[in-house]
Point group: C2
Chain length 153, copies 2
Amino acid sequence: MLSTEQIIEVMAGQGLRITDQRKTLAKLFGENSDFLSAKEVYEYMGKKYSGLSFDTVYRNLRVMEELDVLEQIVFEDGVKFKVNCSEGHHHHHMICLQCQKTYPITFCPMNLTDTPEQFQVVKHKFEVFGYCQDCQQVTEDDGLVMPTLMNGE
Amino acid sequence: MLSTEQIIEVMAGQGLRITDQRKTLAKLFGENSDFLSAKEVYEYMGKKYSGLSFDTVYRNLRVMEELDVLEQIVFEDGVKFKVNCSEGHHHHHMICLQCQKTYPITFCPMNLTDTPEQFQVVKHKFEVFGYCQDCQQVTEDDGLVMPTLMNGE
DNA sequence: TTGATTGCAAAGTTTTTGCACGTCG
DNA sequence: CGACGTGCAAAAACTTTGCAATCAA
């Protein structure tokens, strides 16, 4: 995973100017491997920069995504960003429906999936949703949570 | 895959009123297994209902998704809907990025996925994207292909 | 210095909500 | 009839764009 310094290095290497705001962004993503929405990033940055504008956050997130510094995934509840897992190490994620934290799954089903050769595979998504250890108490209150795997009907 | 009649049946069985518009929606999805965006649905419906409003389409799509009549997938370019394959047996899909048609994958990676017991799994998604046989040539020459909407009828 | 970066304002998209009228059952 | 569905308008949420002032290199 890219470190804060590596992120800055990549950006500077591509001719981008390293503003204070971009340093903070690099730090945020360099020290945090969760997926963050644009809004969450904005709120975090807003603590430090009083006059921060939403469009600058968007612009920087897009730039960083174009430089492959950030990885962007479309979840059900919107687009989120995370520092790119460099070294081409492919994996998937478990995502907590409560706190949105992600946990890696090293297993990739694609190797085992039997795709007809008529179908030219481009990409795939494998995402497991549920509740992480910290968030499981919270869901008990609701009462109507399925405790185990949803494995078929 | 649910037929037009089955869709109507489910909706009526849940106490929903079967309006003319909902009949048409049931027909659209019952006879079409491609993924359609809300906009595409709106445009299709608009041919028949001159004063149609966008919000009604959204409301009905949401209702149908909540009844599990429709399946909703978030693509990079937005949310799309398709009739649900709730024929009792759990499976996943390959989805053509060009024509949006879907092909079943019987294999479910969830059985093989090693989830730590600290993580309480609620649901999962496994989707393979690519190009189906019919669309592989088309991708070279800047295909002017649209998802096949039924011609007004 | 100078061109990239930012904040601001405004507009473009997509989706949701409140309300009054219309209609299914 | 009465409750649900619809159209209309407006708002909300999210994202992008143009422009002038600012700032990194």
